[in-house]
């Protein structure tokens, strides 16, 4: 039996949760799948860095520069250990979107370089007409559009794994979708719209069986459950800091040592080079190769503070807590008439993002009613528009919880839905 989280105590660490909104309603924040709130220790860590050690990293020979470098590399090591990885396999990006683009650009850049600089190219990353890239129908735009673009630039074909009516991947003809033409398989670990947790290991194994590179979008999993990133079986895994109590402006791309080493650079410039001449440059080894320019130093320090905070809570307890809340939310929503869950309606292999539709009331109007009572949820397509289309809804309303939420927050949301139903006569 895992000891449960002390939500009342946790809430004290998040000053924003004291806010009153829309008149004088206490804020009920149920939009953590969009972005999480930040505990004071994270804000303090950033500020402390700026006030004591701020300087260029990896560049100076003075004490501040040494301290800044230590802070930055120390943050990398702490975040790596949080996900069971080696520090040098972690690339800092500005957000998960950049990390996923970095992955997709490894393909489009290699495909372009092959004509003029073939010696620089690992054939695993070359896309040609006839090749395919496989995604799923529940991808966030961040793990769909970059692959559409990679295909548009190379003539490769985008394929996808469809969904069952209960919001799971339809793996029936997996071996036909991922076949010998497949060069990349990019899948979300936990859907931000449906809440589904996917069997990524199985998909990555299938990718490797056909010699494809496997990419996982772990944006909604790393913040919410213990994830040993290397054991997902992927080659590249991306997530964001701001969804896991960290600052905005920082994300992580993990890569296996071998795959990172065989990828061409993405952003180029300072700090990622080995030598530079006007005619020609050579590049540093990963992770530096992928970190051009002055990095998000203070944000890395802040994210390290966030993973310390999460580690102190214990990721198993975080997952357990959210699992319980999700069960509560699913039951409460299912008890309402005219409410349909979009995504798995049972609480196994699913995370805490719960999307739903209310008969006769558009999600925007549901959201407005909740907002009017201080309940912050997200409405819309949640950057997974094709997933909405699959379930024949223009948009959904989504509740999403985190360490600072409890049952009473869900109760407030339920009350708001009832009020909307009463008002709209639905």
């Amino acid at each position: 039996m895992v000891e449960s989280l002390d939500v009342a105590r946790i809430r004290k660490d998040f000053p924003i949760l004291e806010r009153r909104v829309r008149g004088d309603h206490p804020l009920v924040y149920l939009d953590s799948a969009a972005t999480s709130q930040k505990p004071t220790v994270v804000l303090d860590a950033e500020r402390h860095f700026y006030e004591t050690s701020n300087a260029g990293v990896h560049r100076g020979a003075h004490q501040l520069a040494e301290e800044a470098t230590d802070a930055y590399e120390g943050a990398r090591a702490e975040i790596a250990s949080f996900v069971g990885a080696q520090p040098d396999d972690l690339v800092f990006t500005k957000n998960a979107t950049e990390g996923l683009n970095l992955a997709a650009y490894a393909f489009s850049n290699s495909s372009a370089l092959v004509a003029h600089a073939p010696e620089r190219v690992d054939p695993r990353f070359v896309l040609r007409p006839g090749d395919s890239v496989v995604v799923t129908q529940m991808e966030h735009h961040a793990n769909l559009v970059p692959w559409q673009e990679a295909c548009a630039k190379t003539g490769a074909t985008l394929r996808w794994i469809g969904l069952t009516d209960d919001g799971r991947l339809d793996l029936a003809d997996l071996d036909r979708v991922i076949d010998s033409t497949t060069k990349a398989v990019a899948v979300v670990h936990q859907s931000n719209l449906l809440g589904t947790v996917n069997p990524v290991r199985l998909l990555m194994d299938r990718a490797h069986a056909v010699g494809a590179i496997g990419v996982v979008d772990a944006c909604q999993s790393v913040p919410h459950m213990p994830v040993d990133v290397p054991s997902l079986g992927a080659d590249l895994v991306a997530w964001s800091g701001h969804k896991m109590l960290g600052p905005t402006g920082i994300g992580v791309l993990w890569g296996s040592t071998d795959v990172l080493a065989s990828m061409p650079p993405f952003l180029t410039g300072g700090s990622m080079i080995e030598t530079v001449q006007m005619e020609h440059s050579t590049y540093a080894a990963p992770p530096k190769r992928f970190e051009a320019g002055t990095p998000m130093t203070a944000q890395a320090v802040g994210l390290a503070a966030a993973v310390r905070y999460l580690s102190d809570l214990g990721m198993h307890r975080v997952a357990e807590h959210e699992h319980a809340l999700t069960g509560y939310a699913l039951a409460a929503l299912q008890a309402l008439r005219g409410v349909r869950i979009i995504g798995p309606d049972t609480n196994h292999d699913r995370g805490s993002a719960v999307s739903f539709a209310v008969d006769g009331i558009h999600p925007h109007d549901v959201g407005q009613f909740l907002d009017d009572r201080g309940v912050a949820v997200r409405v819309g397509h949640h950057c997974a528009w094709p997933t909405c289309r699959r379930f024949d809804v223009p948009a959904t309303t989504r509740l999403s919880t985190y360490v600072y939420n409890d049952e009473s927050d869900i109760d407030q949301a339920i009350d708001g839905i009832l009020a909307a139903q009463a008002f709209f006569g639905a």
């Binding site: 558009h362 109007d365 009613f369 009017d372 409405v379 819309g380 948009a395 008002f423 709209f424």
Partner: protein, 163 residues
Amino acid sequence: MNVEALYQDIILDHYKHPRGRGLLAEASGESHQVNPTCGDEVTVQVSLGPEGGLVVGFEGQGCSISQASASVMSELVSGVPAARADAIRAEFLELMRGKGAVEPDEDVLGDAVAFAGVAKYPARIKCALLPWTALQDAQARAGIIADTQPDEGSISTQKEGRS
């Protein structure tokens, strides 16, 4: 300001009983607009009637605000000349961008005055404007442009700073 002030009866009525909904048999211009943040959609069609007034058709799916706005708009601009439609749109834009501080002119806006409360909810302004944007675009595509431009000064299309 609370949510009931946003959802005026007029709005709910237009939402539940849209006026003028439906596409035209023959349109000289059509525009499909979406709100990429939430997926609201509206298609507006326009052509010129025998008397020189606009003939407007629309279809769409989305929230009460966007769909009611389309219905109100179709009532307001059907049969009026392009110059008049432009003037009404300008007035509506000003109302939406007024952050609740603009007093709507009922003579010009008719039922659209009910949208005054929307101006307080930035995320909903896009919804209310969606059909109007589509109308403007459809008119442009059809070449149904006012001969005498309405006084540009009265249309507050200039960018506004933060208040």
